[in-house]
């Protein structure tokens, strides 16, 4: 009897991973905190207000849309908090608060819940919302002036000048984040700390960030005719780090296999670099990640691992079978 009491009878799976969606999201939030603190130090307390509005409206719209759609509540998994945080990090500090709230609503309701909620969205909600806001309110989304540091972002001045001029902040400032830009993207060191934390906690694999940043580095080295300074500015400025570490690694919208992750990262890097060098916008991280998000199903199909022991595909036999099938259909 005493033995029976200790045995629990349950259906499989019996071995469970300690990782839960909530735990992973909590790790991402922890990893974002250094960048948030850096943003408060650089831009002032307005940062907290913007972040609070984004997170609050994201959670609220998640709650309401689940309620309206009569589905079980998912705000407990904290994914809406992460979306809100990431969206806030993608906005300039001068953004009117109603635009920030609108962005959260777009991210959660349109991009995430309309496609089925967590795990079902086909593009990164925060990035999609950022792009919709950027296209809708171009002047408000690129207004860096109240920062009082530089009028143009380093990328914008690189774009217009094409040469490294005295206008650019020093390399130390680039690392610490003393330059114009969105809330969360400026302080490179804080983002790298967050990334290392996520990699140590095994929340993300380094495959996507490294292949992404590496591809941009190679491309910029070629575009800058071998200038390491130009390449370093390109890597540290704009949304590259936050995009590569936090956005491109989103589970739902990135490939599963290692090979797929590398393809995904290289694709993101190529598109980002191409937009920065040849495109009309100074920055291309959000567009490149969204485009690669859409390609993920195809990448997955090409890189699915073959189960061990399955025979090699006989292409000739397959073709013959298809032909026979076609003929059968004709008859």
């Amino acid at each position: 009897m005493s033995v029976n009491k200790k045995l629990t009878v349950s259906a499989s799976p019996h071995v469970r991973s300690p990782h839960t969606a909530t735990g992973i999201m909590l790790d991402v939030i922890i990893a974002l905190i250094p960048a948030l603190i850096a943003a408060v130090v650089i831009f002032g307390t307005q940062v907290l207000l913007v972040t609070l509005v984004c997170v609050g409206s994201a959670v609220l719209s998640e709650y309401l849309s689940r309620k309206v759609m009569k589905r079980h509540q998912t705000i407990g998994d904290l994914s809406a908090v992460v979306t809100g945080l990431l969206l806030a990090f993608n906005l300039p500090v001068s953004i009117p608060l109603w635009i920030a709230a609108l962005g959260s609503i777009i991210a959660i309701v349109v991009v995430k819940q309309m496609f089925g909620g967590i795990g079902q969205n086909f593009v990164n909600p925060a990035l999609a919302a950022r792009i919709i806001l950027l296209v809708s309110f171009p002047s408000k989304m690129t207004d860096w002036t109240p920062v009082g540091l530089t009028t143009a972002t380093p990328l914008a001045s690189l774009k217009s000048g094409e040469v490294i001029s005295a206008e650019l902040p020093t390399m130390v400032d680039m690392l610490l984040g003393k330059h114009g830009g969105c809330l969360g993207e400026v302080c490179s060191i804080a983002l790298i700390i967050g990334g290392i934390y996520l990699i140590i906690r095994k929340v993300i694999s380094p495959a996507i960030p490294l292949s992404y940043i590496g591809t941009v580095a190679v491309f910029m080295l070629i575009a800058g005719k071998g200038s390491f300074e130009f390449t370093a500015y390109q890597l540290l400025s704009g949304g590259l780090l936050i995009g590569a570490i936090f956005m491109a690694t989103d589970y739902t919208t990135s490939p599963v296999s290692f090979k797929g992750k590398i393809i995904f990262g290289i694709g993101c890097g190529l598109i980002t670099a191409a937009i920065r060098v040849f495109g009309g916008y100074p920055e291309g991280v959000s567009f490149s990640i969204i485009i690669m998000n859409i390609l993920v199903p195809h990448i997955e199909r090409l890189t699915t691992a073959k189960p061990f022991g399955t025979p090699k595909k006989d292409k000739k036999a397959e073709k013959a079978a298809k032909k026979a099938e076609k003929e059968a259909a004709k008859v």
Binding site: I132, V135, S136, F137, P138, E325, A329, K330
Partner: protein, 235 residues
């Protein structure tokens, strides 16, 4: 034959149940292109409706004379004549609309709605039924365009036809751009499907083999099988 159906039904089916834009998803290109302003949508809807009604009547009247094998070129000639007439009239009397519609006015010639109705309805039904079908489809097309244009212009610019409804500062530019157009289009299709299903109508579907352009050369047409069955087995 469909001639026995009440004529009112031929008219009302074009409004929601078989709305050409939102249920049959025809004429998407002009719909997305000209629905950035209410005036443009109204002009486009009116011009296409007139062409649709006239071509439906003429094609239906000639349906026994036109040989089956060359019917598409014959339909196109008839439609093109009416488009040319309408274009000349628009240019002469409302040049502003001609300017705002640009290339999309002559492109009514290849509008799928008009050719689609000629092929699916006017080529097989009586003149009066075809006229009512054309009217219903024309009104449905215009209504869908107007609904889209109203949403896009209002949110995209904050104004309707020049009258500011709310400050332009709050307007979302994306609604005037193509992505916003696709978004509104998708939302309206969802609404139309919901409305049509409420009335107990089935989901949007084509009218079987007779409206299929491949019908003449299709091997399945007399076999009693439908294309869907074939697709399912291949999958």
């Amino acid at each position: 034959m469909a001639d026995k159906k009440p004529l009112v039904k031929e008219f009302t089916k074009g409004l929601i149940a078989e709305n050409p834009v939102l249920r049959l998803v025809l004429g998407t290109c002009p719909t997305l292109a000209v629905s950035t302003s209410v005036m443009g949508a109204l002009g486009m809807g009116a011009a296409a409706s007139i062409v649709l009604i006239c071509s439906n009547i003429v094609i239906s009247a000639l349906r026994k004379i036109i040989p089956g094998k060359v019917r598409i070129p014959a339909y196109i000639v008839i439609i093109a004549s009416f488009v040319t007439i309408v274009q000349m009239l628009v240019k002469a009397f409302v040049p502003e609309i001609d300017e705002s519609l640009g290339v999309y006015l002559p492109l009514i010639v290849v509008n799928c709605i008009i050719l689609g109705r000629a092929e699916a309805f006017a080529g097989k039904n009586s003149v009066i039924a075809s006229a009512f079908d054309g009217m219903g489809m024309g009104v449905g097309f215009t209504a869908a365009l107007l609904a889209m244009a109203f949403i896009r212009e209002l949110i995209g610019t904050g104004a309707i036809n020049g009258t500011q409804i709310f400050p332009a500062d709050f307007s979302m530019l994306i609604f005037i751009l193509p992505p916003g157009g696709f978004f509104v289009f998708g939302m309206l299709i969802a609404v139309a499907n919901k409305l049509a299903e409420k009335k107990g109508k089935p989901k949007a579907e084509l009218h079987g083999c007779e409206s299929c352009p491949m019908a003449a050369s299709c091997s399945l047409i007399n076999s009693g099988e439908s294309c869907d069955v074939k697709e399912a087995t291949v999958k």
